[in-house]
């Protein structure tokens, strides 16, 4: 089959996103229907592409004589594309109920859908420059979403978001340019150019710049501050973009540059690898500690994301295929778990107006489905067996033990510390919601109840996914392994 279809996952959301803003829809319902159909269609196209796996790359144009703007679908791309393809329809459905009283819905849904295409673009990029293009574009199209509320707080968050992201992207671009000037045009291939340039410290510097640049979106300390601030955006944005699409684009880009551009052969055992490992290990603990200290529920989850993104980066920094597979499994599982947690937080916020953790005391009896979902996802993120978080953490630990060395040991300790902290910042809240009767229990109103079907369906789908993944992740793990190893 022709690989021209690779452009579809980018174009469909782009066109339908613009249509949502421009077409005169008769009612909210018909617009929602159009939106959901478009998103579902795109997910099916993605599914079809993944199943048929068009080989080779599709060059759309040349930016200069030697710089192609090209798309391709390889193992790593499939993993990321599969994740967003699964989560986007679920989140879109959730947003309908969340945003139902909002005035600027067309703008919101327009950009929300366009983001789908841009994120798919990141996943489908065939070389660093193309990826850089989509990466920058992703920052731009998410700006209106972060700024959605339009109040002072969101404007401040947007400013932070833009400065951090643009600054990071500039660093990455510097790194990429250094690479291109040194090694000529590069396409993403597993192993990268490492073997040709072993011990080249100019390239190591280029790598580190790239990593720091992409480290902004993947919220590595000290470049994380934009993420908790961006929690002012409506929850569907925080849940899908700031727990999955945007931040994982950062992680994805970091993996692309590590394994597919510079290559583990170049990096393994160097100071560049050690710096990434230390940064990741530190951020793992730092994010969890901050999450424990934070009382605002959405910001707590954002800090938890900071920590968990570094789990993935830590797996990546091991520079082994096992480490990468383990990191990627955490990318998938964390995506599913964190989006669920955010959905729960969002439902509480949107139905009851409660934003802080202590305010949720006793709320579990009023909103049992929401809080049971929260507890299950909390246990999953903590790493309880039979739920998916356990498997990815186990894989990370195993690959670190296999890699050995002081930095891997530091990472293992960081992972275990963070696991305990995760239990501490998620589970007591879930338990207090059920077992404690708050002093002002009369303040509950009839609005404090479980949401409607548009939110319950996403909950159910996500919890079922977690259970299935937790109990039977073997096929998925094997698939991940063959997707990565297959491209060796």
């Amino acid at each position: 089959m022709s690989n021209q279809f690779l452009i579809l996952p980018i174009l469909i959301p782009l066109i339908s996103g613009i249509s949502i803003a421009l077409l005169p829809f008769r009612s909210e319902k018909s617009r929602n229907l159009f939106n959901l159909t478009a998103v579902l269609l795109n997910s099916f196209v993605i599914l079809w592409l993944i199943l048929s796996r068009p080989a080779g790359s599709l060059t759309l144009l040349y930016l200069t004589k030697t710089l192609p703007f090209a798309l391709k679908l390889d193992g790593l791309g499939i993993i990321f594309l599969g994740l967003i393809g699964f989560l986007w329809p679920v989140s879109t459905l959730y947003s309908f109920e969340y945003m139902e009283h909002d005035k600027n819905q067309p703008r919101f849904f327009s950009f929300y859908t366009i983001c789908y295409g841009v994120t798919a673009g990141v996943a489908l990029s065939a070389n660093p420059i193309t990826m850089y293009f989509f990466y920058e574009l992703l920052t731009l199209v998410t700006v209106p979403l972060v700024a959605h509320e339009g109040d002072r707080q969101s404007m401040a968050a947007v400013r932070k978001y833009i400065i951090y992201s643009m600054g990071g992207a500039a660093l990455s671009l510097t790194g990429i340019l250094m690479l291109l000037s040194h090694a000529g045009s590069v396409e993403f291939v597993y192993g990268g150019i490492g073997q040709l340039f072993q011990g080249d410290s100019f390239l190591l510097l280029a790598y580190l710049l790239t990593f720091i640049g992409f480290g902004v979106k993947s919220a590595v300390f000290p470049l994380h501050a934009w993420l908790p601030a961006a929690g002012v955006a409506p929850t569907p944005v925080t849940a899908l973009l700031h727990a999955v699409a945007v931040v994982k684009s950062g992680v994805f880009a970091a993996i692309r540059s590590t394994y597919y551009t510079f290559g583990p052969d170049l990096l393994a055992g160097t100071w560049a690898q050690q710096s990434t490992a230390v940064a990741a290990a530190f951020t793992i603990v730092f994010g969890s500690v901050m999450a424990l200290r934070e009382q605002h529920l959405k910001r707590r989850l954002a800090y938890s994301t900071v920590s968990n993104l570094s789990y993935i980066l830590f797996g990546m920094s091991l520079m082994t295929a096992e480490g990468l597979v383990a990191g990627l499994s955490h990318m998938l599982f964390h995506g599913v778990i964190k989006i669920t947690l955010f959905f729960c937080a969002g439902t509480v916020l949107c139905k009851t107006g409660r934003a802080y953790v202590p305010q949720t005391t006793g709320l579990g009896r009023k909103m049992p489905v929401t809080f049971i979902t929260f507890l299950i996802s909390g246990l999953a993120l903590t790493g309880t067996p039979l739920l998916p978080g356990y498997i990815s953490k186990m894989n990370l630990l195993m690959s670190a033990a296999l890699a050995g060395g002081p930095f891997a040991m530091a990472g293992i300790i960081a992972l275990l510390l963070s696991a305990i902290l995760t239990a501490a910042y998620l589970l007591p809240m879930g338990i207090r919601a059920f077992l404690v009767t708050p002093e002002d229990s009369l303040s509950f109103t009839e609005h404090d109840r479980d949401p409607g079907w548009q939110m319950l369906v996403p909950f159910t789908v996500l919890v079922l996914t977690m259970l299935v993944l937790g109990i039977h992740a073997e096929p998925l793990m094997n698939a991940l392994e063959s997707l990565i190893m297959g491209s060796v």
Binding site: L379, T384, L386, L397, A400, P428, I431, V436, A473
Partner: protein
């Protein structure tokens, strides 16, 4: 070994019954619930016994992810612990029927009581590290609602402490898996251990460190220093029959896990004679002494018993860490003894609370006049725990002391028995005054106001049975035979 689906019955049956109690509205009726729970517990007991009597079997259930298989098996350790677990659960369950009358949320209580039994049996039946870890974690979660039962602020704090300490311990325990995958041949439990010595070469210190962390981690459930602090907080806030299983049985989950880690994964041969063994023995001795002295100073009866658990379970661990046959025999005997006795003591405390509302040791003056049978049971259990011959504690401590003396570890070999002796004296000092003041209240006691408050048969039956068992070791042969069966497979 034959693959046998019936291995799942003892684990799943109580869990399903637990879910039924939690969900089926018809079981909200007190009488029906009592019949149902009693039947469920008895059938679980019979199912477990039948697995113990049947020939060794194993069962592969499923694979969660590569290197994470779920499978169960029956071996000597399983046989030894599973019967004990199911029996203790039955005893405390029978006691609960009357006791729980003064608590609320009965269905939730029995739901998690049964779920906890299933998970605990899962720990005993687990055939590999991952399965054991899974059951271990879920047991923590399933028993948490028992600690939280009263829903007071105290209970919540205790519950959170329980949760976080247990999770911290479990995560340290998890550390073993990646390193065993790297340096071992399999995660299945194989007597003698699974380490591949050619791979281990040059990484001994790392592995000893990992084993140390793992054992301290699983030791959290057994109240081992330094992760012991949750136990005296969490056990007493649960309803008395739940405290009894928490203290008497669930602490033994830590013991099972440590036996598996030492004798079936890392291998005693690898750990024997290392700095790690000495460090572990020191931790156990510290815990023994600390637990006893804290119990001596504690005024609330149930808390005193919980501190006593901290101390007594470390007797068991001390024996395990010595890694010789005699000490091991002592350990396993003490598993039996402590389970029976501590269950009995907590149930006595529960009977007293239920009938009189008294929780403080000072208030118990003359209690033997009001509830003679209960206090007699208490006294028998106390004597057994102190180790007065010919009761059960005597035998186990005798073997522990012998095992310690026969080991060639400097200082510890004689310090161990000394600390055991001091702790036994402390045990006498914190338990016997209750009996003495209970039966001989002294001159100031107002006999005219005396009312008999003996509880009814539901409460007395398990008490008497447990006290009789504690004293029953006048005929130690069957127990010794059971224990030798296990040590033979370990050593």
């Amino acid at each position: 070994m034959n693959s046998n689906i019936s291995l799942l019955f003892p684990i799943l049956f109580p869990m399903l019954c637990g879910i039924a109690v939690g969900l089926i509205p018809a079981l909200k009726d007190e009488k029906r619930r009592r019949v149902f729970v009693l039947t469920a517990l008895s059938i679980s007991f019979l199912l477990t016994i039948s697995q113990i009597l049947l020939p060794e079997a194993s069962l592969y259930v499923c694979t969660l992810a590569p290197k994470a298989e779920i499978s169960f098996a029956v071996d000597a350790v399983t046989r030894f612990f599973a019967g004990l677990i199911a029996f203790m659960w039955l005893m405390s369950g029978i006691f609960s029927f009357e006791y729980m009358k003064h608590e609320k949320n009965h269905n939730r209580y029995y739901c998690f009581y049964l779920l906890g039994e299933g998970a605990m049996l899962g720990v005993a039946f687990a055939a590999n590290y991952v399965t054991m870890y899974l059951c271990f974690e879920w047991m923590t979660l399933m028993t948490l609602p028992m600690v939280l039962h009263s829903q007071t602020e105290d209970a919540l704090k205790a519950g959170m402490k329980y949760l976080l300490y247990s999770f911290a311990g479990a995560f340290a325990g998890l550390l073993g898996i990646p390193f065993l995958v790297r340096f071992g041949t399999t995660l299945d439990f194989i007597p003698g251990g699974v380490l591949d010595m050619t791979l281990v070469q040059g990484h001994e210190t790392l592995l000893l460190g990992v084993a140390f962390a793992v054992i301290l981690g699983f030791g959290a459930k057994a109240g081992l220093f330094p992760l012991h602090a949750w136990l005296p907080t969490a056990h007493p806030v649960a309803p008395a029959p739940a405290s009894a299983v928490l203290s008497g049985v669930i602490t033994k989950a830590g013991v099972i896990a440590i036996i598996r880690v030492i004798y079936y994964q890392f291998g005693a041969a690898f750990l024997r004679g290392t700095w790690m063994q000495t460090a572990l023995l020191c931790t156990a001795l510290v815990t023994i002494f600390m637990g006893s002295s804290m119990a001596y100073r504690e005024k609330i009866l149930k808390k005193r018993l919980a501190y006593s658990t901290v101390s007594q379970v470390s007797y068991i661990l001390f024996g395990l860490f010595l890694m010789n046959t005699t000490a091991m025999t002592g350990s396993l005997l003490h598993v039996l003894c402590h389970s029976v006795v501590k269950d009995g003591l907590f149930l006595c405390a529960g009977a007293i609370i239920y009938k009189t509302g008294k929780t403080d040791v000072e208030e118990l003056t003359g209690i033997g006049k009001e509830m003679p049978v209960v206090l007699w049971c208490f006294t028998l259990c106390a004597l057994a725990l102190i180790g007065i011959p010919p009761m059960c504690g005597f035998m186990s401590k005798w073997y522990l002391a012998l095992g310690s003396l026969s080991s060639s570890i400097p200082v510890i070999s004689w310090l161990g028995p000394v600390i055991l002796l001091i702790s036994a004296l402390l045990t006498a000092a914190y338990l016997l005054p209750i009996t003495i003041r209970g039966f001989f209240p002294g001159e100031g006691y107002n006999y005219s106001a005396l009312v008999k408050k003996e509880p009814n048969a539901w409460m007395l039956l398990p008490l008497i049975l447990l006290a009789a068992l504690a004293a029953f070791t006048i005929f130690p042969q069957p127990f010794l035979a059971m224990v030798e069966n296990v040590t033979a497979s370990l050593m």
